[in-house]
Symmetry: C4
């Protein structure tokens, strides 16, 4: 038994780099591409009668799918690796340009409602992203409130957030989701809110988590251990 | 080990006030504000074709998000702390007044359908709130029927209740949710049903739980212990 | 400890009749009434654009709520007690007659689509009820495939079944759900399919479960035990 | 005890063929038929306002129902037995021909959107099927990331995939689902994408799983065991 244990640990060492760096990177790369792509398909839906329901469910349920499938490999929660993912997802614009024609996919862009001021849009994107990131931190990261329901809760929170913000900003919560279609449609009115809003909401959620919500072992300032 | 245990207990003592009073209060304060705000965004949706689906899912999924994230900190179920939350949420009217113009958000108000009598509306609000509170008591409070699925079940029950009551009363189940928009739109027809209905349904659910549904250790009258 | 155990068992004896007969009966009585009532509210929705979505989600999510809350008390699955529940629920017609006017609630009736033959309707009601009852037996009754997800799976299966059958028969799956509104609207065309269909589907599901799907300890014929 | 154990094992032997071959086959046969049939009912919905929502939820929730009920008997995930299921399901065309008239059910066919090229449709069907099969492999098959939430995650991923692909290809993800209605409607334009797309996506997902995502004990190439 003891020798077997040593061999297992050797094997883990052997494939360590693959497990720790390459595989998570592949997950973020392939995952972000397919997540944005599938969601975009749904957002391009031409049935205006049920407009925000389709993209909201597609994005939410796809996120649920990835969180359930790859949560143990790379986290699928906001971490440095996502930076790369977002960079790559920005390239999705090219993929989209190949896949679709402008006309079909104008509905895929996120843009401000006609009577919405820029700072209102910023505030709304900020609020719903704050909600999403807080939920991710609480149900998937926090030592105490972690739950096996995390994939479903996170996915459906995204659905709720998109539905909530839909009339005002289109419900982005994600710079990468807004960048691609805007590139194709060449539509940049108040585009900075789709970078600023989610970033701000994400920052506030992170600070509030570290200072207030986190379980003792993750909260800042750390309690002294004698 | 024993000394470590003592230190842990010291630390818990040290931060006891923070844990027991300040943090739950913060959860109720921030939580209720964002819950009402996000739901309101969804209710303001101008697409009349799918009217009650958007607010129903936004409110339901946001409640699910909060129940999953903060259920271990403050309960997020009806308790005295909520009283404060409701008071504060009443102030949301001011936030809304800043955020939105009347015209956009008239759809966010809850009001009686044209052919619905006040006592019918009261009865319907009472019924669906009775259902919601009963579910909360059974899946999140009761010693025996408590389940880890609670956040999802509670959130989707709110969705179901709002969808059910939508034609008749707009589906409030929550005085705070009705007060803000009514303040902005200055729309007070039969507004008392949004206070009376949920309160009544909540009371009946509470009594019935204590007297009939509760597991032995929470049921009233307590069985004598020799 | 031993004396304490005896007292506990005495107390259980004491309240045995309450636990075994009265409480389950109350659950079926109150539960069926509120289940049908809330679902009916949703079915009366006057927005024809999204017709079957509202009742499907209301019925499904309400069933989920009851299964999660009262599953440990009375089963909430097809059993002799439900017979009484159905009888009482038939009386819901009176409650509805008081609550609503005919005009508002005609949409609450289930009736055959204009081009659907009676035996087609019967077959469809039979198929979806077969699906629902099979799911209930597998996820809530069977010793092996029982799962804590049962309330969500059962509720959403009802949603799926109603959505599936909506165009053809209105999606009843439940004699009590069809009887009340038909009484008010005095609409009896091919009403027997809402009794025959669910009954037939339920019977086939029950037999197939006992003979084929059930785990060894519940399957018929019982394997001899030496 | 020991003799009892022997009898149990005898009994298992006795019914071994039934358990291992006949029952799983029955599940696939009856299951695929009812899955396609119920989903088809939903797809035939004549309300164009909410077009892809109904079939997406019906197919997704029915798959959830079957995965939760029969997952322990036959897998309900892509395996050789499904080949037979698909063959039989192809026969569903005959059942449909009896059940419905052409006119009602033309909406049940999957066909390319008017401006979608064949290779775009193929790519989209391939992408969403890749997502679905990857999710099935990760949450229901993989030794490490297996989860009890599998039925819900798989079912809702199908819902998301159908909603995503709806505008472009109708959202099939399943040759059997496209074959029957196409037979009735005699509509074969670019029908090969509904065979090629899902097959291709399924193949890529399978290879990628074996080579990259799988837990050590299922990944290929196998690590040497000394």
């Amino acid at each position: 038994d003891s020798s077997n244990g040593k061999i297992d640990s050797d094997r883990d060492e052997e494939t360590g780099k693959f497990f720790k760096i390459i595989r998570p990177l592949l997950v973020e790369l392939i995952g972000t591409c397919i997540f944005i792509l599938t969601g975009m398909f749904g957002a391009c839906h031409d049935n205006e009668n049920i407009h925000p329901l389709i993209p909201a469910f597609v994005f939410g349920l796809t996120l649920m799918a990835f969180a359930a499938s790859f949560g143990h490999i790379s986290g699928v929660h906001f971490n440095p690796a996502v930076t790369l993912g977002i960079f790559i997802a920005g390239q999705i614009g090219l993929v989209m340009a190949i896949l679709d024609r402008y006309s079909t996919c104008a509905g895929g862009s996120t843009f401000l409602g006609p009577a919405v001021k820029w700072w209102e849009g910023l505030l709304i994107e900020c609020t719903v992203t704050f909600l999403l990131v807080t939920v991710i931190l609480m149900v998937a990261v926090d030592t105490k409130s972690k739950t096996i329901l995390a994939p479903i809760v996170i996915g459906l929170t995204l659905t709720g957030g998109i539905l909530g913000a839909a009339t005002f900003t289109g419900g982005s919560l994600n710079p990468a989701r807004s960048f691609g279609p805007s590139l194709i449609a060449n539509q940049w009115r108040a585009h900075y809110i789709y970078f600023g809003g989610p970033l701000l909401g994400s920052l506030v959620a992170g600070f509030l988590y570290r200072l207030v919500w986190a379980h003792t072992d993750r909260r800042y300032p750390k309690q002294r251990k004698h």
